[in-house]
Symmetry: C2
Subunit: 287 residues, 2 copies
């Protein structure tokens, strides 16, 4: 497995892989890899002859009061994990490689970035779409892999790729959870033992909500109200809990068609997100 | 020469050219081709084995009160001209091909688009950068060719390509002028015979300004003042005349280094632009 730190070297490496006729897969990450990333890398390795895992803690997607400085960096362990899973290369550029001059060009996706995490993290998605566009242009993957854990990000990236005719496929892979249901996240390592126990309230609320909808409940605000109580009873501070159309991300009053139930909750000082998608077939619309 | 109207067909055509080992050149145009476009196509044909001329009157770069509806469409003549110059293909998509759903993803370049034409045409450059990003992703050119006539556009596109790591080169080619000095433009055909005679005042003012600078004048506002008078004496209505740093596009007071002298002037109801770049070697900075 190659560890590549410059754009020039990355491009030559891709060119060589292309000349060998290999399909290129990209798993863009910020490192601190866990089994969620692992599932993306495994799938990429199954589907592509040459898999690049990018590891770059992208400053432009962090707000001024967010955790850029303390975001976990575990490069040695990440590299061992990527090697073990069969990645062909890690692309780990410096910030100077990625942003050698003040960034003036940005990719933005309107509307889909207004709500949910976009409302609490202004500028976040502009940073994400811009760095993904840059990585796509450097690595020119045939397929790029994203996790459903970041549901809004996945939808925004898919829309960016479609609207800008990017010559690649975006694959969104299921959330990977701890045995108790907590969604895997690099930020879980911020949690104290007590917070870790209480953090299960996110997935439990989602699980409860899914069951109620399966049981016929369609009243979004009633469902949200109970989920809020469940989470607050565990000391969770709610950033948002919303039920939105899974395509437009606009809030729904009645559950029908394909909806995304999404939440962001602070457990202690750690902001966690989780979500699930429910598809009521009877009323399903083509996305 | 192939005439291609769908994105799918365009991609297959490019794939076939790549398999033949050909370098891909792209000349993006809105049609109504003239010798300015011709010079871009000729250069592309000299440098690339497979030249695509895109012809697409891009609605997202026109403001609500601009000339989208009446913009000249001369497809048969354009096709004959491209064939004569040795283009391999014309890409002439419909608006539905390029914008099949509401466009939510946009590429924007900050700061460089604030002044000059960006100030008078809000949203114009966002439309230009977005459609160019789309065309680059569809056609994946090795080299894309732009005219210096649209000086700000060329700088904005170059910055977009650099900041987003687009895997292509941007070549900017010199302005082509009529014998009397008028810069070639698709919009020149809007001019009446009398307006056409008066339109030469733009290039004459630039020519005069260049000579004054060569003669040692460095006072930007004095130069601009005289150019304004020269143009107004011909009945030109000035949108802007500015002398700016050729890299940052910020207005300069003293002429030094590399400066862009740029203007937009209405002759009758037709908005014309022209410019020249002056490079005072003694003080030159690396771009």
């Amino acid at each position: 497995m190659q560890i590549i730190t410059t754009i020039t070297e990355m491009r030559s490496c891709i060119q060589a892989a292309r000349q060998r006729g290999l399909r290129i897969g990209l798993v863009p990450t910020m490192g601190a890899l866990h089994a969620g990333h692992g599932s993306l890398i495994e799938r990429a390795v199954r589907e592509c002859g040459f898999v690049v895992v990018s590891i770059f803690v992208n400053p432009t997607q962090f707000g001024p009061n967010e955790d850029l400085a303390k975001y976990p960096r575990t490069f040695e362990a990440d590299a061992a994990y990527c090697r073990q899973l069969g990645a062909a290369a890690i692309f780990a550029p410096t910030t100077e490689q990625m942003y050698p001059q003040p960034q003036l060009a940005w990719v933005e996706v309107e509307k889909l970035t207004d709500g949910l995490c976009g409302a609490s993290r202004p500028g976040h998605f502009r940073g994400v779409t811009t760095v993904c566009a840059k990585l796509f242009n450097i690595i020119t993957p045939d397929i790029a892999y994203f996790g459903q854990k970041d549901a809004q990000q996945a939808i925004v990236i898919q829309r960016m790729a479609a609207d800008l005719n990017m010559p690649l496929e975006i694959r969104v892979c299921p959330i990977v959870r701890e045995p108790d249901g907590l969604a895997m996240s690099s930020r879980n390592r911020y949690l104290s033992a007590d917070e870790r126990r209480r953090a299960v309230c996110l997935s439990q609320a989602l699980q409860w909500c899914q069951e109620r909808i399966a049981g016929g409940c369609t009243d979004a605000s009633a469902l949200i109200g109970t989920m809020r109580e469940m989470i607050q009873s565990q000391g969770g501070r709610i950033d948002y809990i919303q039920i939105v159309d899974a395509q437009t991300l606009e809030p729904v009053l009645q559950i029908r068609g394909r909806v995304l139930i999404a939440m962001a909750v602070y457990i202690g000082t750690t902001r966690l997100i989780d979500n699930c998608v429910i598809d009521l077939k009877a009323d399903e619309k083509v996305v």
